[in-house]
């Protein structure tokens, strides 16, 4: 092989390592547009894509931070259902106790996020102070948190007692000018999408511009060196799991308000895998010490589009997991590149 050829191959490799996720995004976008024609390119379709994936997106953003710290959190899906179950139950109790709807909904939302934070903090405490490997500690959480949610609702559904406000939070949004849906009603950017983007932008800021992010990267890249450099390693690691819990609470709020209920057997089931997949597709190193939120956001949308395309193409849902799995492995292969 001639020298220029190898040079070309190497440059191609480097390019894909860096921008592969965007290339994949654009390709999928084109395929979607081709397959579905005008329907796909409609604002409504985008709105739905974002809306459907906002909750997983919020989890994936948190997961990016956890993975940057060289950790993992398998319990996110279970934290979602636990937080939503606790929060919705609290909201219903407050409404029954005669609180006004707005104050009950706001309190319920806060309880949801706090419950998630508490679960995350428990993970963090086990990992940092109990010195349990993150994989194991959160594997315990995966089993335990959902089980608690199931016990609260006796494995059933918790229906929101809020007449209008709670579901308005889940289904409403900011109206878009000049945009109408197929039924002729004004389109909105849903609150869940707004929250997803707000969380992503804040996380990107914290990762690249704030002290917490810098220390998180230092801990993930080399925990020992971070300790030697005077980084409060335990505190940083604890905080990232607590933060992950808080975001799981937010995701729980987004999901339960969208459904106006919490199905304790179904909500958040398997989302830890979707979240981790999105992070990996986005180019964040599972070894820690490096991560990018925008990649994760692209990863979430790629997974969403794949599901979309497969569904529209009439691929059986049973096969969709296989396709997703292949995409995840392919993404890692392309990005691993020369570092292998």
């Amino acid at each position: 092989m001639s020298k220029s050829h190898t040079g070309m191959a190497v440059r191609m490799q480097r390019f894909l390592e860096h921008w592969g996720v965007l290339v994949a995004f654009v390709l999928l976008f084109a395929v979607s547009a081709f397959k579905q024609g005008g329907d796909f390119l409609s604002i409504e379709n985008f709105r739905n894509l974002l809306n459907q994936n906002a909750a997983v997106g919020i989890l994936a953003v948190g997961m990016t931070l956890v993975i940057v710290s060289a950790g993992i959190d398998l319990s996110v899906g279970s934290m979602v259902v636990l937080a939503a179950a606790v929060g919705t139950t609290a909201m219903n109790a407050l409404i029954e106790a005669g609180w006004s709807e707005p104050s009950a909904v706001v309190s319920g939302a806060l309880v949801t996020i706090l419950a998630g934070t508490a679960a995350g903090a428990l993970n963090g405490a086990l990992i940092v102070f109990g010195r349990i490997a993150p994989f194991i500690a959160t594997l315990g959480g995966l089993a335990a948190f959902r089980s608690i949610a199931l016990a609260i609702a006796e494995a059933g559904e918790i229906r929101s007692q809020s007449p209008t406000m709670f579901s308005a939070l889940g289904r409403g949004g900011i109206p878009l000018p000049f945009a109408e849906n197929s039924a002729g009603k004004a389109l909105t950017i849903s609150w869940s999408t707004v929250i997803f983007f707000a969380v992503a932008i804040a996380a990107q800021w914290f990762l690249s511009r704030a002290r917490f992010g810098r220390q998180l990267v230092a801990v993930g890249a080399n925990e020992t060196a971070a300790r030697y450099a005077g980084v409060p390693v335990a505190w940083i690691r604890f905080r990232v799991y607590a933060l992950m819990g808080a975001l799981a609470g937010v995701a729980g709020l987004v999901q339960s308000s969208r459904m106006n209920s919490v199905s304790t057997a179904q909500l958040g089931l398997g989302s830890e895998l979707d979240a981790i997949a999105a992070v990996v597709i986005g180019g964040t190193s599972l070894r820690g010490g490096f991560g990018r939120i925008w990649g994760t956001v692209a990863g979430v949308l790629i997974l969403g589009m794949i599901t979309n395309i497969l569904t529209i193409s009439g691929v059986s849902p049973y096969w969709q997991g296989a396709v997703k799995g292949a995409v995840i492995v392919l993404a890692v292969l392309v990005q691993r590149g020369s570092r292998a």
Binding site: R209, R211, Y228, G289
Partner: protein, 537 residues
């Protein structure tokens, strides 16, 4: 003892064809030419020593020979033929084995398992390991080396010396014809070292090409048939043992330790050390250790270091020097007391120590001292990140970070064109300056610096000495831990010598100025207090 006769027999019997060699090999790292057109032959049946200062390119040469690194130019020869070694495994298959300084053993496996790692005798069509045969083969290989040890013991329980035997037995198991050893005696005691050298002679006499790197020039004079001296990546001198067993160069220079050192450094030794300033005893000690130590690793270390003073700590690897320093800043569990500026303190982590002006620069630059994957800027500001944080940490002042980094680059003459790139792109010396600068930025009163010039080239070395001396002049109390005695002697006001976890002796400023003080330190460090006759004269 005299082995000249043995050497001659060995050399004469086998030294006919170069078993291995390099021709015009050049290796470039970003910003540094680690090897510059080096050509050298390694003969079967010869011990070939490669010497040079840190950063001279010895390790790089070994990496090229063992297939771990592909040269940018030039070729590797095997039995006279150009060859390309695709990785260490290919090299091992080609009969070239390397014993690394940090031994590559699996700590949890037994001696027998380690010796035959990857070539286990099997039965049942390769499914099951034939344990009795594995033990027997391992025993035979170790017996060839004259080493006896419990084959079932886990390697983690062995002494360093025994680990080295296991490593060499591993090389023999792979039928190595070329054996490369990176500073094999660096971590050994005197007795163990001489046993190892004896073994190298045996391996040589059996017709192998033995290459070794060493900083101990006395053992090089003792054992080597050929010596190559590297300096700044170039081969600057060669010595060969002549018919009467004297190592000399082509122009007849006899390879004394001095002659080799001269070739290694390329200028007068001693000039790299700045003049020693005056310490200021009488004031409150900046730091005082009282019967201090790291739990289970050291004890009874009592020392006062005054502002402006540089106290050296010598001792063999494993004597508890590093552990004691780590205990001071809370990286290990301490015993005893610390007083900082007169007040008793206990630090739970380096962060707490830093708040009271006590900082520790690790010996392990790549693993602990720096984050090699992060940028120079991020490394520079990590310990003092709080000072760059705004709005409760929500924002790091990137402009201030850049200007502070630029200031230190300027102040310490760091060669770093793009501080935003990973610090791994810098040479060892420049990395070390950053490792130092990041702590100076925290404005310490006490600086503990462990192996300040490990893996640093000679030019940067002199600069680091100058920086430390200047800092002391400004009133910083310095504790310098080092395995390089000339460095301690040239830099420190006095030297504590540690042995087996406690202070075995102290060498005063007056004694440091005397000739033979290096020997005095070595003797204290190795527990030989009595004067000893020179044996190799």
């Amino acid at each position: 003892m005299d082995f000249a006769g043995v050497k001659q027999v060995g050399a004469a019997a086998h030294a006919t064809l170069p078993r291995m060699g390099v021709r015009g090999v050049t290796v470039e790292y970003p910003g540094v030419r680690a090897l510059d057109e080096v050509t050298v032959d390694f003969m079967a049946g010869e011990i070939h020593a490669v010497v040079g200062e840190n950063g001279a390119g010895k390790s790089t040469l070994m990496k090229v020979l063992s297939g771990a690194l592909a040269p940018n130019a030039g070729e590797v020869l095997r039995n006279g033929e150009p060859t390309i070694l695709r990785g260490p495994r290919a090299a091992i298959r080609a009969g070239i084995s390397m014993v690394h300084q940090e031994l590559n053993l699996v700590a949890t496996l037994s001696v027998a398992e380690n010796v035959l790692l990857g070539r286990e005798p099997t039965f049942l069509a390769g499914i099951a390991v034939d344990r009795p045969q594995q033990r027997e083969r391992a025993r035979a290989l170790l017996a060839m080396l004259g080493a006896e040890m419990d084959l079932d013991r886990a390697v983690s329980e062995l002494s360093i010396a025994d680990c080295q035997y296991v490593e060499i037995a591993k090389c023999l198991a792979s039928e190595a014809q070329v054996l490369i050893l990176d500073e094999p005696t660096a971590v050994l005691g005197e007795h163990e070292a001489s046993k190892l050298l004896q073994l190298l002679r045996r391996l040589r006499d059996e017709g192998r090409a033995v290459l070794f790197i060493s900083h101990h020039l006395d053992e090089v004079v003792d054992v080597a048939d050929r010596v190559s001296v590297l300096r700044d990546g170039r081969l600057v001198a060669r010595f060969q043992r002549n018919a009467v067993g004297v190592l000399q160069s082509e122009d007849g220079t006899v390879a004394t330790e001095d002659a080799m050192a001269q070739a290694m450094v390329g200028r007068e030794l001693g000039s790299i050390y700045p003049p020693k300033g005056g310490a200021k005893p009488g004031e409150t000690p900046a730091i005082e250790l009282i019967e201090f130590g790291a739990a289970d690793r050291s004890r009874d270390v009592s020392v006062r270091v005054f502002p402006g003073e540089i106290v050296g700590i010598a001792g063999l690897v494993g004597s508890g020097r590093t552990e004691t320093a780590e205990a001071i800043v809370g990286l290990r569990r301490p015993v005893g007391k610390i007083r900082v500026a007169g007040a008793e303190r206990t630090f739970k982590d380096p962060r707490a120590a830093m708040r009271h002006g006590v900082t520790y620069v690790s010996e392990d630059r790549k693993g602990r001292g720096l984050h090699v994957s992060l940028s120079s800027i991020a490394n520079m500001t990590l310990p003092s990140l709080d000072a760059f944080s705004q709005f409760g940490g929500a924002r790091i002042d990137a402009v201030a970070e850049r200007s502070v980094t630029a200031r230190w680059i300027n102040e310490l003459a760091i060669r770093c064109a793009r501080p935003g790139l990973p610090i791994s792109s810098l040479s060892g010396g420049n990395q070390q300056k950053f490792a130092l600068a990041r702590w100076l930025e925290t404005r310490p009163n006490v600086l503990i610096i462990d192996e300040p010039t490990r893996g640093v080239d000679i030019g940067a070395k002199a600069e680091i000495y100058r920086i430390i001396a200047a800092l002391a002049q400004e009133g910083l109390a310095c504790i310098v831990i080092s395995s390089e005695l000339p460095e301690l002697i040239g830099l420190a006001h006095r030297v504590l010598v540690m042995r087996n976890g406690s202070v075995a002796g102290e060498v005063t400023r007056e004694q440091l100025a005397e000739a033979g003080c290096e020997e005095r330190i070595v003797r204290i460090a190795s527990g030989l207090r009595a004067e000893r006759q020179e044996t190799h004269e």
